[in-house]
């Protein structure tokens, strides 16, 4: 599908279309699911292969690389979260590496993967899973469930409700106002997590597509935009991880 046959609007619209199976709510984005699970398996396969052979002696090169990432995540967790929790660190590692890999799909030229799939008769293919809100909301929802779970586990159900109602205003007549404010704060967390990641990557992808429509000059511009994504891609993965750690550590704090 070349630019000569279709208008740029159609071209962009086509590229932003997910490969979908089913209708309405029960529709599944096969490309998002496929790529994200594939990248998740890449992450787990590499890390598991290192974990199986991990020993305290002199590490190999792959082990060094993996340990650098693990230590980076571990340091980030330790600098923010001071309690004991066996879930937070592996969760942060999974989020960081998985989101990083999914974001990194943005560097693959926008037409490359769709073209290859077109050869096999697949007409829609969106290769960057984090440009699909389903992906980012799934991550955010997972984190949100953990926030609620640990809030109740640490403070008890009464403590959690008390936290939602008795502040910032101390007087009983203002408890409903407090509750509304706190609920907004609480709900804003997963929403902002999901929308930030989705927004950044979706916009990045959209601009890649726009650049792809400008003809021969797209090559240097593509390079510049891809170079800029050297910042965006790791930064968004890092922010998602850091905020997850922060929200979970707030959930552990007793007032």
């Amino acid at each position: 599908m070349s630019a000569a046959e279709v208008t740029s609007q159609e071209y962009i619209k086509h590229h932003l279309q997910n490969l979908t199976v089913g209708e309405g709510f029960w529709a599944l984005h096969i490309d998002t699911l496929g790529w994200s699970i594939f990248l998740g398996l890449v992450f787990l396969t590499i890390f598991r292969s290192v974990a199986k052979k991990a020993e305290a002696g002199v590490p190999g090169k792959l082990q060094c690389a993996v340990e650098m990432i693990v230590e980076f995540v571990d340091d980030s967790v330790k600098s923010t979260f001071h309690g004991k929790n066996p879930v937070i660190a592996p969760l942060a590692l999974t989020i960081f590496v998985w989101v990083l890999l999914m974001n990194a799909m943005d560097w693959v030229p926008v037409d490359l993967i769709p073209r290859i799939f077109e050869l096999f008769g697949v007409h829609y293919m969106k290769a960057v899973p984090t440009t699909d809100p389903n992906m980012t909301f799934a991550l955010a929802l997972g984190v949100f469930v953990l926030i609620i779970y640990y809030s109740i586990k640490v403070k008890g159900i009464g403590g959690f409700i008390k936290e939602l109602t008795t502040q910032p205003f101390g007087h009983w007549s203002l408890y409903p106002v407090n509750f509304i404010l706190e609920m907004v704060t609480l709900l804003a967390r997963p929403l902002s997590l999901a929308l930030r990641l989705f927004g950044n990557l979706y916009a990045g992808e959209l601009i890649f597509l726009l650049i792809a429509t400008i003809g021969l000059f797209q090559l240097p511009v593509h390079f510049l935009w891809a170079a800029f994504h050297l910042l965006v891609i790791p930064l968004q993965a890092f922010i998602f991880m850091m905020l997850t750690i922060l929200y979970l550590s707030l959930a552990h704090e007793d007032h």
């Binding site: 998002t32 699911l33 290192v50 974990a51 340990e67 992906m135 799934a138």
Partner: protein, 156 residues
């Protein structure tokens, strides 16, 4: 925004990945890292300790060397003293021996001289007797006998 069942699928994938990571990825890797950190810390502490030990040993060695030198000097001093003493003793002994030998020599000479004197005396007596006999054999003539007497005198 097009939220649908994909979200549920991704949520399940997310949960499975996190649980897998929590069970099979994180513990061995962080365990290896921490074990290595402990090993390195131990190694550094050991090297610190070894450096301190070395310093102590060097100090000890220096002290011992000093002591040994002092002892050696003392021993040399004693040996010198003993040497002088020995030389003096030997000289004294030699002197005494010399005196003794000299005294013995003197005594021997004395006895030999006395013996010689005695022998001489005996011989003089015999000669005198022999002379008297010869004189008695002839008539006593002073002039004639003077040669005999001269001989006697010469024999003395």
């Amino acid at each position: 925004m097009n939220l649908n069942a994909t979200l549920i699928g991704e949520l399940i994938a997310f949960i499975v990945f996190v649980i897998f990571c929590m069970k099979y990825v994180w513990p061995p890797i962080i365990g290896a890292i921490e074990a290595r950190q402990a090993t390195i810390a131990d190694g550094l502490a050991a090297s610190d300790r070894a450096a301190k030990d070395l310093e102590l040993a060097q100090e000890k060695a220096t002290a011992q060397l000093k002591e040994a030198k002092a002892q050696a000097a003392e021993i040399i001093e004693a040996a010198k003293k003993r040497e002088t003493q020995l030389v003096e003793e030997a000289a004294e002994k030699a002197h005494a021996e010399k005196e003794k030998i000299l005294a013995a020599g003197h005594a021997e000479i004395e006895t030999e001289r006395n013996q010689a004197k005695e022998e001489l005396r005996q011989q003089v007596a015999i000669l005198a007797v022999a002379g008297a006999e010869k004189i008695l054999e002839r008539s006593i003539d002073a002039a004639a006998h003077s040669d005999i007497l001269d001989k006697l005198v010469a024999e003395l």
